[in-house]
Amino acid sequence: MSRPVKNRTGPRQRRDGLVVQELPEETLVYDLERHKAHCLEVVAAAVWEACDGERTVGEIAARATKRIGRRVPDDAAWLALRRLGRARLLEAPVAAPVAGRFTSRRDWLKKAALFGGLSVLSITAPTAAQAATCVAQTACQALQNRFCTGAPCCTTGPNPAPPGTSCKKVGNQNNCSCAP
């Protein structure tokens, strides 16, 4: 006897190009294509896990409820899906319900704060050079030529240097400069 074939298209979790690590309360996801790291709070993680491409939002909310042991309303699942889509953790972004469960951004944020556990925090992973010690442009320019450090110049701070520059001697100047 063959099993009935489901022919529905619900939100589908993206699987390719991701590194996933479970923590006791959260899930960490690293996107190898975009070099972004995401931290999914408990509800967002449960919703993401339930996105198999076949479940409806209502079914996803029910599965998330079972997984975390506290009720996840449909509205919370919609919010989580919206955030997961924006983080590119779904195969395709999820369109909000036509009827409009949430009328404004403020409404979205209020609901999210009420539910809790829906946050998807993202950072861009640094390149090796970005994570290295850098020299502030002001400090570099204060050094005499023979004391240039060769270290990368800081691209943040009060006097940021252009990306990809390092503190070195340039031309016949007396002091070091941040230059490519």
Partner: protein, 247 residues
């Protein structure tokens, strides 16, 4: 490391990362070449420094070439160490546990490390937290570099600041993301384990090249460490709080 003039070897050895040793094998993972220049009669030749086939610097100033070499070697070790994860952070030991202060350059790590040493902590690093796969932190011994108001750096040994050097690996007891903000009061907020991993990952040298290994190691670090984030003003105030928090 190869050179065209043996006379520069002593200066190079003084700049090698701690724990270096002579390697008899002819095959290496990374080759750094120093073509020594200087005055040769009427001609002034450039000092040239290469990493594999890539030229790092071309300069008439030997000191500058050596400074570039030192930076490059530190960075290369941080990127290529096979069983260690390098996170940009200050580290001290206290009561058998390590306090990690991750942060970018100019976040005030060295100043906070100096204040922690003055309060009796042991010195592990003001530059890198060197983590093993179990999540323990190892010393990265180099002088502490403190900057003055003009951003000029001075190197000090930990003993000059009243501290001692840590020797063996330590488990991490506390992660504190403490950004300097003049006049701010240190009132940190607790970080969840996931958020703490993101803070550490954003200061990890190989975050992009080895994300799976990095996240696994950082996950072990935060699984047993309390993590906090806040803005700090006076380093002594934050240092006293951190030492009390780690117990």
């Amino acid at each position: 490391m190869r050179v065209t003039d043996r006379s520069v070897l002593d200066e190079i050895v003084a700049r090698l990362p701690a724990g270096w040793r002579r390697q008899p094998r002819p095959l290496v993972d990374h080759l750094v070449s120093f073509v020594v220049g200087g005055d040769a009669g009427a001609v002034r030749r450039f000092h040239l420094l290469y990493a594999d086939a890539r030229r790092l610097v071309r300069t008439t100033e030997r000191h500058e070439a050596l400074a570039v070499l030192e930076n490059h070697l530190t960075q290369a070790v941080a990127e290529m160490a096979p069983r260690r994860l390098f996170v940009h952070a200050g580290v001290v030991g206290w009561n058998g546990q390590a306090i990690l202060v991750p942060g970018a350059s100019h976040a005030g790590k060295s100043t906070l490390v100096a204040a922690l040493l003055a309060a009796g902590a042991t010195y592990y690093s003001d530059e890198f937290a060197v983590l093993d796969p179990q999540g323990r932190v190892h010393p990265f011994p180099r002088p502490i570099r403190l900057r003055d108001a003009r951003e000029i750096a001075t190197s000090l040994e930990p003993e000059q600041l009243g501290g001692r050097r840590g020797l063996g690996p330590l488990p991490v007891g506390l992660v504190a993301v403490a950004r300097y903000d003049e006049g701010a009061r240190w009132r940190p907020a607790r970080l969840t384990a996931g958020r703490a991993v993101l803070e550490l990952l954003s200061n990890t040298i190989v975050a992009r090249s080895h994300p799976a290994a990095a996240m696994a190691t950082l996950g072990r670090v935060v699984s047993r460490a309390a993590s906090f984030k806040g803005r700090r003003g006076e380093a002594r105030e934050a240092a006293a709080w951190l030492l009390e928090a780690v117990g």
